[in-house]
C-alpha cells in the first residue's frame, strides 16, 4: 500500500512586522516596506475553528515582493506565497 505521509507545502512562515499609523506593515524583519500593493481578507471554517486572516502584498525596498498575513485570532504575522 502506498504511504500517504503528506507534508504540507507553502506553510506560513512567522515574521516580525512593525505597523505604521494606518495599521499597514512598515517593516518586515530588517527590511523596510516601500509600497503596499493590495490587501484582502479570508474568513474560513467559521463552523469549526474559525480562521480569519488579513493578507497584505507589499514591495520591500530593493524591489522584493512579499505576501504577508495577520492571523486575526492570535495577532501574529506570517509570510506566505499567495
Amino acid at each position: 500500500m502506498r504511504a500517504d505521509r503528506l507534508r504540507s507545502l507553502n506553510v506560513p512562515r512567522p515574521v516580525t512586522v512593525v505597523l505604521n499609523a494606518d495599521g499597514l506593515p512598515r517593516s518586515v524583519g530588517d527590511a523596510t516596506v516601500d509600497v503596499t500593493l493590495e490587501a484582502w481578507r479570508i474568513d474560513d471554517e467559521w463552523w469549526r475553528s474559525p480562521i480569519t486572516r488579513r493578507y497584505v502584498e507589499v514591495v520591500l525596498e530593493g524591489g522584493g515582493r512579499l505576501v504577508l498575513f495577520e492571523d486575526m485570532t492570535t495577532k501574529m504575522w506570517f509570510a506566505q506565497k499567495p
Binding site: 502506498r2 504511504a3 504540507s8 507553502n10 506553510v11 474560513d44 480562521i51 499567495p82
Partner: protein
Amino acid sequence: MPQRPTSSLAACVWIPLFPLRCEEARREGLVTHPSALLAPDLSRKLWQVSPLARHTGVRPGMTVSQAIGLCPALRLCEPDPVHYDGCFARLLAALNEISPVIEAGELGLAYLGTDGLEGIYGEPRRIIEVIKRTLESWNDSIVPSFRVGWGKGKFIAWVAATRAKPGDAVIVSPGETGRFLAAQPIAVLPLDPDTHRRLRQLGIRTLGALAALPEEAVTAQFGAVGRRLWRLAAGRTVEPVVGSIAPEPIVAALTFFTPVGERDLIERAIDQLIARALKDPRRIGWRVQAVRLVAEVEGGRSWLADLLLKDPAADGARIAAPLRTRLEQAPPAGAVTRLVLELTAFAPGTTELQLFARDAVAAARAGQRRALESAAREIHQRLKRTCLYHVIEVQPWSRLPERRYALIDYEP
C-alpha cells in the same frame, strides 16, 4: 517479482483492420458500403480502408478529397480510439478464459500460449475450435474477418495466421515448420523497407531462399538484423508467448486536512486518487475491472462503494463515472476525513491507448521510469531516508494556500 508465464506453442488471433471492423459492427449497413476510417490525428488523411473502397482505388494515406474523387459513395468514419481499445480489451479478456498466457500485439492481434492446453482441449485443431467459438461468442459481427494461426513460437503462428482465409485457421505442426516457412514470401519478416529492397535486389523472394544462404554471410551483409531475420526464416528462433501476471490490488489514499462534506470536492479528490492509482507501474498492461472506494467519515463512521466495471478501463473518467453515480445516489452520512481507493481486479489490456502509445514511445517512457526508480532506490540506500517527493494536489480549491498542495514520499 514473480516470473511471467511463457509458452513456446502459440496460437495467433489476427483481425485485420480491427478499428474499421469495430465501426462496421456498431454501424448498421456500413459493411455493405465502401468505407474508410480517418486517422486519429489532425492530418485528416485516411487511416484504414475497407476492401470495397480499395476496389475503387482508395488507399490509406489519401486525403479526403482524393478519396471522394475516386469513390463518391465512400462513407467516412471519425476515429474513436477509446472504443477500439475497449473492444480489444474485451477480446483479450475473452481469450484469457481459454489460456492464462495472453500477449497483446497491436490492435486486433493477440497471441495465446497453448502449452499444456492439449490436456484440456485435445489436439491443436480442437484448441483452434475453442478459440473460434470464443470469438463467435465475443462478437459475432467481427468474427467473419478473424484469422488464426498455430505453431511453435509467435513468428510461425503469426505467419500461419496471415496465410489463413478469413474465418479460418492454419495449423503448422512442429514437423512441418521448415517446409511451411520455406514457401513464404520475405514480406512476412519484420523488415524495414530498405532491407526488403536490398533482399529483393539480391533475388531473395522467399524465406527458403534466405535460409539457404549461410548464416554468417547474411550477418556480414545485414548485421545483427540480418542474423535475426535468417534465424526466423530458418525456423531457428522460437519466440515464446509471454503472458502477464495480474497485479495485487493497487491502493491510493488521501487524508484531508479538514473534513470535507461537499460532493464536488470529494469527486475531485476521487479523480486525483484514480489518476495516482493508474500511474502505478504494476498497472501497466492491465485494465481495471473492479474498484473499491472507502471513505472514513467524521464521528468514526465509514462509507463503502464496491463496483465492478462493465467494461474494463484504463481511462480515469470511465472508472470515476460509476463512483460519481454511487456518490450521488448514496452519499456518505457526514464529512469525509480520509478516502482510500483500491483497484482490486484487472483484465488484460494495454498500457494506454494503443493508437497513441506506439511501442517505441512506450519503451522510452518505461526506460525513463526504470532509470528514475533505480536512482531513487540508490539515494534511499545511501542516505537511509527518502529524499524524493511527489507534489500532489490535496485541496487545490482551498482558500488557504498551505492546504492546496503537499509532498508525498516518492517510493519506487
